[in-house]
């Protein structure tokens, strides 16, 4: 069900609906200071459910081995729009698409500093 919801959102995204909301900052190289803020958010705020070391908590683990098989774009959609029916909230009010993608890349590649 949550996968289906995420897929539906992905479809809406591809169809261009809701696009302006995530376009902010897309394709822009993030400033080092902003990257630092994002890593802090990842470790401490995402970490409050997924664990400081991303080994999971109330939320699932976000380790490279658990994410590798998932579509990175789907993960970006999950970060931005949340997963309905679960406690995963939408972060689109706080994060631009490029910022969500930066965090997903860190997680998938296991490069969380």
């Amino acid at each position: 069900m949550p996968e289906r919801a995420a897929a539906a959102l992905l479809f809406l995204l591809l169809a261009g609906i809701g696009r302006p909301e995530v376009e902010r900052g897309a394709g822009v190289e993030l400033a080092p200071a902003r990257k630092g803020e994002l890593v802090h958010l990842l470790r401490h705020d995402c970490g409050s459910c997924h664990g400081l070391t991303m080994k999971g908590g109330l939320g699932p683990p976000l380790l490279p081995e658990t994410l590798r098989d998932k579509d990175p774009e789907g993960l970006v959609v999950t970060v931005l729009y949340g997963r309905p029916g679960t406690p995963m909230p939408p972060w689109k009010h706080e994060l631009a698409e490029a910022e969500a993608r930066f965090l997903v890349e860190l997680l998938v590649e296991g490069r969380v500093p």
Binding site: H44, D45, C49, G51, L52, P89
Partner: protein, 395 residues
């Protein structure tokens, strides 16, 4: 004159003796004024005292302390620290050192100590269940696998001790409350209540030990179990408190604080809403909702019951809301630091200790004047635990 000299001499001898004893044991002191502060990223705790408001020392090597919590031995000499990584550590507060540590599971959320102080219980996410340990040795005594009515192992939340000598806990995935009677450790007796509601995220017991309450994330409502009359089973209170309005995104799960009780009222955080719900403890009806400048995380009643101080979820966690519990209305907002994760009153309520994670400080306020008494360096502080909890049910 002569008499006074004699008295003086009489006093001198024991004084010398106690000075010698102090040299051998330089830390002779009680533990009743201590707090333990979790440093979540460093995997350490600070031991501080609330009389002169100083940090006495740090104990390291406690593992991953995101969501780190702890309980105290009944003599308030030791803290049992529960780590996210399944670590259970025993810390001597006076010698300020680690005296025992085991890795008892892959992923844990918290724990409790039994009424008689003999058993330490840990709530685990992976593998889902509760394990019991000997508080003296940390030796394993029993394990309860939290296999829900859906046949799957569930994460366990809201593990507390009860006045019956056992423990109560909640199954997050399958939505159940279980009571554990540990009188026969070879076969702990379990009483199960299934179908309590969707995604119970936390639970706690009132300070008198009578009512166990579980908060639901998947629907608007609180589950109440009267531990004096468990045969009556759990029931729902505050059903549909959101009045059908969509909740806001929740960036930080609220916690059900045992000390949300004040006289005839009980205060509960509304999930995904900027308000605290006030319930009458006799009728279990809502009597008020008090607006807060963000989503409440911890709602903590000052020990005198006149105010509650409320920490808030990201992105409003730089503020702390104060509620007037006589008028049931807001009584001010403070900005004591960046990312306030937790707060703890001293046992009589004259001070409140707050962890400001993003300032790397613990801030101590005078609760009457609302003025800063001290600001102590701490590495990404989160939970703050007063040794007064050693003598309270459910904490």
């Amino acid at each position: 004159m002569k008499r006074r000299t004699a008295i003086g001499l009489g006093v001198a001898a024991p004084l010398l003796a106690s000075r010698r004893a102090r040299a051998a044991c330089p830390e002779l002191r009680g533990t009743g004024d201590l707090v333990v502060v979790v440093e979540r990223a460093r995997g350490s705790v600070l031991i501080a005292e609330t009389t002169g408001r100083t940090v006495l020392g740090r104990v390291e090597g406690l593992g991953d302390l995101s969501h780190g919590s702890l309980v105290f031995s009944r003599d308030a000499r030791f803290a049992f620290v529960f780590g996210r990584d399944g670590g259970l550590s025993k810390v001597d507060l006076l010698e300020r050192r680690l005296v025992g540590r085991i890795l008892q599971a892959g992923n844990a959320i918290g724990g409790a100590i039994s009424q008689d102080g003999r058993l330490v219980a840990v709530a685990n996410y992976e593998p889902g269940g509760v394990r019991l340990f000997d508080s003296a040795t940390l030796g394993p005594l029993a394990e309860v696998a939290a296999v829900g009515s859906d046949g799957k192992r569930s994460k366990v939340v809201g593990l507390v001790d009860t006045a019956e000598g056992g423990f109560a806990f909640t199954l997050y995935d399958s939505g159940e409350i279980w009571l554990l009677d540990p009188s026969d450790l070879s076969a702990p007796r379990i009483t199960r209540f299934a179908g309590i509601g969707s995604l119970p995220y936390d639970a706690n017991v009132t300070p008198d030990g009578r009512f166990y309450l579980a908060g639901l994330f998947g629907e608007d409502g609180i589950v109440l179990l009267d531990l004096w009359h468990v045969e009556a089973g759990p029931r729902r209170i505050l059903d549909g408190y959101g009045r059908g309005e969509a909740p806001l995104p929740v960036y930080k799960m609220p916690h059900l604080e045992g000390r949300g009780a004040a006289g005839e009222h009980l205060l509960l955080p509304a999930v995904g809403r900027h308000e605290v719900l006030v319930v009458d403890k006799r009728s279990w009806q809502e009597v008020a909702r008090i607006p807060t400048p963000g989503q409440p995380v911890f709602v903590v009643v000052r020990p005198d019951g006149r105010e509650a101080w409320v920490s808030l979820a990201h992105p409003h966690n730089g503020k702390v809301a104060i509620l007037d519990l006589e008028r049931l209305e807001p009584a001010g907002t403070l900005s004591p630091g960046r990312a306030i994760l937790h707060l703890e009153f001293t046992p009589r309520g004259e001070q409140v200790w707050l962890s400001a994670r993003d300032d790397d400080r613990v801030v101590v306020l005078d609760t009457r004047r609302r003025e800063v008494l001290a600001s102590l360096p701490a590495d990404k502080p989160s939970g703050i635990f007063s040794t007064a909890r050693a003598h309270r049910i459910g904490s």
